[in-house]
Amino acid sequence: MKRVTLIDYGLSNLLSVQRAFEHFGAKVEIARSPAAVLGAQALVLPGVGAFRDGMAGLEQLGLTVPIRQKAAAGTPLLGICLGMQMLFDESEEFGRWQGLGLIPGRVVKLPERNAAGGLQRVPQVGWNGLLPPQGKTDFADSLLRAVRPGGEVYFVHSYEAKPARPQDRLAEVLYGGRRVCAAARSGSVTGCQFHPEKSGEVGLSIIRQFLEDGEG
């Protein structure tokens, strides 16, 4: 594909994501209009910040319908961090907010207590190792297939996605003794809770896979 469209709805620093794709020779376009989204070969939805602000940003630019149309048509779509969370049905951040509904499930606050009942840090900030979901041993047939189980990536988040269907869970991490969804997928739509663009070689392998898969 080598052409990728980053959706800019005013909430994120696009530069780091852009640089990571350019690292592999991709031509990066920035989309702020429905037409630009509809013309994309592959879409990336980055994002940092609050869920409701993110959805409001997409609504204001009229991008939610075009994004859903593209996903329905099988266009590769990668959501990163808040962009991953917005792929789900709804979030409980500051009330209840509707998401894009591309992966069934909800987004909830990370618990303040770990599995042993002690206090844990929220947000999760830092490196953590990706684990295949229960019943699997690797990340075959996904954007994460070059990642070895335990490969570490960089997280910054206070909310976690809870996919409704077990088969949509692509990767997990252990946080406070609990398994937290780190990546999810439904059809051509993949979401990463972590930042592949800030996760060294492991993260770059996912970026490269996204570019290569779109070419076929």
Binding site: S16, E22, H23, N114, P123
Partner: protein, 255 residues
Amino acid sequence: MAKAEKIRLIARLEVKNDQLVKGVQLEGLRKLGDPHDFARAYYEAGIDEILYLDIVASLYERNNLSQIVRRTTGDVFIPITVGGGLRSVEDVHKILQQGADKAAINTAAIKDPSIITRVAEAYGSQCMVLSIQAKRRRDGSGWEAYYDNGREHSGLDAVEWAKRGVALGAGEILLTSVDSEGLGRGMDRELIRAVAGAVNVPVIAAGGAAGPEDVALAAEDGACAVALSSLLHYKRMGVGQLKAALAARGVGVRR
């Protein structure tokens, strides 16, 4: 709060104009080269984060790191923290636009602590790193927070200031021991213990790390990360070598 399972290693690059510099106790600077070249080499060797500090910015009242950060995002794909002379939410916004992930603030927070809350509300507490330059009081009654590279004293108790900073929204503390900084004779363990024990956010210990031993001790004392400068810049030890030595001691590191 449970201790970190893995210690993060951060390359601390102090920048004056376009040059990587290194001093002793934040004074007597030596020029070492292009900061971006050092950052890239550390990234390739497996460092976990980059910390750029513009050490003359608060004198000139502006941060000159934008161009360096922008270049760094082109080939360094790990988190980048920027500090030095950030005085407003607008300054933080600009540096994030250049690809930085976090802002480290010292002087401006001492002058007006409300900036901590304003940055945390605008970009999240994980983005707001409170930088504290702590110097031991001569009478042995703890540490005082300094600013302008350890030149000006604030009258604030460093531990109390850390607690207040976290209450105001700081998501991380960059704790530099001015007394130990640049000497390579070990870190101020009591300081690390005092601050890490007082706050529930990650503490990045800085100043004096001479090798894996000091990093391991800092982890034991409650630091989640250690910022390294002389040790790396003068090539006393490589990142890979350091990580291997830590792992051999049973200290978790990212591999």
